[in-house]
């Protein structure tokens, strides 16, 4: 029983981080209509810069702010200089450019900082609270709280704010957006910048757990990708629910079936959702017809 409880609780904790990794992907998807595979590497640049600052004496707060600032900048630059300009040739070249950019950044990181995993500072390891006998550190609590506020914030942004609505409009009908004077290029740059910031934020929670290497944030983005496919590509809430469900499901699979089955279960459930509900579990709105 204790095994089950602990599995469930820790599954939720890690699942919320999965959701957060999906959030950055959703921001770009909702404006541009494709997935960015560069986010993990954008985060890695920010994290390595942050780590260098931390090792030369910066406090945690400054480190965290620096990580987010650098990721924001790099995200914005990748969008402005590479991906958004390529969109004029279509979504496919733009989406492929995110893969190319990812490989280039990770190649440069391998060259400069090397492939060794390193430890990354975290909020605090000390125990904050205990749920059903499972101790949660302040880092866990911060991860859950930050993720939750990011999700609420993004949800409100896309449904209530003028800019968020305009971003969705641009993705919905590019021509109409242009004819109505919606500044689609600027909105896309904003989405890349925001997604960069979110990647950095995600990295702050991933790097202490997985240790920081050139691939650590990327390995987690796989789960984020599944989360948004299962949750529904344009549903922020769906990503939250699906990410958490994935965390619990993979944890239970690992505990009660076989740890080697985790990827199989993950991808199989993603395919199943795609087959049964192509728009994801929470993407139903898209199909509404009166």
């Amino acid at each position: 029983m204790e095994l089950l409880q602990t599995s469930l609780i820790l599954g939720v904790v890690v699942g919320i981080v999965y959701s957060l990794s999906g959030a950055g992907l959703v921001v770009i998807f909702r404006t541009s209509g494709y997935i960015s595979f560069t986010q993990g590497d954008i985060a890695a640049v920010g994290l390595f810069v942050g780590l260098a600052a931390y090792n030369s004496g910066a406090g945690y707060v400054w480190t965290a702010l620096l990580v987010i600032a650098v990721s924001t900048l790099v995200g914005g630059l990748v969008g402005a200089l590479i991906t958004v300009p390529l969109e004029k040739h279509g979504h496919l070249p733009a989406a492929l450019s995110t893969i190319a950019t990812a490989l280039i950044i990770s190649g440069l990181l391998n060259l400069t900082v090397g492939g060794d995993p390193r430890s990354f500072p975290e909020v605090s390891r000390s125990e904050a609270l205990s749920i059903l006998g499972v101790q949660m550190s302040w880092s866990d609590v911060a991860g859950v709280l930050v993720s939750a506020s990011v999700f609420i914030g993004l949800g409100v942004f896309f449904s209530r704010s003028r800019m968020g609505v305009a971003m969705r409009a641009v993705n919905d009908n590019k021509l109409a957006g242009e004819l109505l004077g919606v500044p689609d290029r600027r909105l896309k740059l904003v989405s890349w910048t925001v997604a960069g910031a979110l990647s950095g934020l995600l990295g702050l929670f991933v790097a202490p757990i997985l240790s920081l290497s050139t691939v650590s944030v990327n390995t987690l983005l796989v789960f984020g990708f599944c989360a948004i496919v299962i949750g529904g590509f344009d549903s922020i809430f769906g990503a939250l629910v699906a990410g958490t469900a994935i965390g619990v499901m993979t944890n239970l699979t690992s505990t009660y079936l076989d740890p080697n089955l985790v990827p199989t279960v993950l991808w199989a459930s993603m395919l199943l959702v795609l087959l049964v509900r192509p728009n994801g579990l929470f993407g139903r709105r898209k199909l509404v017809r009166v």
Binding site: L3, V134, N251, P263
Partner: protein, 391 residues
């Protein structure tokens, strides 16, 4: 000789060799005495696994030291390292280059179980012997000789150490479902059963996973005081340990040379200092021979991590290659030995020296049958139990 001069000499040698190849097309290895012994290895030198390159640089350091002292009976060793990025899809290509273009007579310390697995049969077919820097017992063969102790024995030694030396009978095992992991687990179970015990848990993990909290929960639920995770590399061991310590489970950890490096200490933020033991067939920097090792490394490969299990393994293999080649040159009456002569030497080779003990390739081409236990203490690896035969 200054570094620049060495570089220039190497460049000129390479150039002249190349020119000789162009012009003559005949046998360039004519004449006695000064001819080079050409050997090679593959290793990641770039790419994500580049950190595994410390072993090959250490091997090279051992060979460079001998070259600077005049070589083996006047023969310099030419050591060609090719980059396979630890990618078994690239290994066969660079290995063919080594064998067919560079005409190496043996491979000395190529890195990694999976990459070597991709070329083991090819090398055997070409009758090119190899001293492998990898731990998987399946890699041993007629032409491939292992140095690192088999993980079955490593797992057994850790279990024995827990029960007999630490007086702990609550032991759990974490393992990956592959040749290394399962043999380490079987070795541990064998010893525990011999003592009338059984492991409180055998918890499986996937080395490609990102989340190890499930393993942490299961390990904690066993209530074991000693968790043996012998086959794990530092990064995976670090993740398992971190996940466990995060939920308040702080047992004594049993590890091996595979995880013995800075990465583990760094990733776990030193939390396991004093609570981590490493079974290894290799020496430490702190020992008497180790001082010589550290000095050589400081001179020939100053950038690599001295205290890493992989570096020490690489260096030890370099020393073994020198010893084997010395015997092979003797057998060839002072000439450059052929592959067949090196193979002949290897197949009857035994070693019980300052660097490694319990190598007997005349019996089986597998790794060292003796190991010691080190304890991580104040960031250093100190001897906890001296060299003894693996149980």
């Amino acid at each position: 000789m200054s570094k620049k001069l060495v570089g220039l000499t190497v460049a000129l040698t390479t150039l002249s060799t190349a020119l000789a190849g162009c012009g003559g097309g005949g046998d360039s290895a004519s004449g006695a005495g000064g001819d080079e012994i050409v050997i090679g290895a593959f290793s990641p030198l770039s790419g994500p696994a580049v950190s595994a390159s410390s072993g090959i640089y250490a091997t090279k350091a051992a060979l460079d030291k001998v070259n600077d002292a005049g070589g083996i009976d006047g023969h310099k060793i030419k050591f060609i390292i090719k980059d396979d990025q630890f990618d078994p899809a690239k290994t066969p290509g660079v290995t063919r280059e080594l064998v067919e273009t560079d005409r190496v007579s043996m491979l000395c310390g190529p890195q990694g179980s999976v990459p070597f697995g991709a070329v083991k049969d090819y090398l055997a077919a070409r009758k090119i012997p190899t001293i492998v820097n990898a731990g998987a017992p399946t890699l041993a063969g007629e032409y491939s000789y292992l140095v690192s102790s088999p993980f079955d024995g490593v797992g057994a030694m850790l279990a024995q150490f827990a029960v007999e030396d630490l007086d702990i009978d609550k032991v759990a095992i974490a393992y990956s479902d592959d040749a290394l992991g399962t043999s380490a687990r079987d070795g541990a179970v064998r010893i525990l059963e011999a003592d009338g015990l059984e492991p409180l848990g055998e918890i499986k993990y996937d080395i490609t996973a990102t989340d190890f909290s499930s393993q942490a929960i299961q390990l904690k639920a066993t209530g074991a005081d000693f968790v043996s995770i012998p086959a794990a590399q530092a990064n995976v061991a670090g993740l398992v340990i971190n996940a466990a310590e995060k939920i308040g489970y702080k047992p004594i950890w049993g590890l091996s040379y595979a995880a013995q490096n800075k990465t583990l200490v760094d990733v776990t933020k030193g939390a396991i200092d004093g609570r981590a033991y490493f079974a290894t067939p290799y020496i430490t920097e702190e020992s008497e021979t180790g001082a010589e090792y550290a000095a050589t490394l400081a001179e020939y490969a100053p950038d690599v991590e001295v205290n890493s299990g992989a570096t020490i393994a690489g260096y030890t293999i370099g020393e073994l290659c020198v010893d084997v080649l010395t015997k092979a040159v003797e057998a060839a009456d002072g000439e450059v030995p052929t592959s067949a002569q090196i193979q002949e030497t290897l197949s009857s080779y035994t070693a019980d020296n300052d660097y490694i003990q319990g190598i007997d390739w005349s019996d089986e081409p597998d790794g060292a049958a003796a190991a010691q236990i080190l304890q991580l203490k104040d960031g250093k690896y100190v001897e906890s139990k001296p060299f003894a035969p693996l149980p």
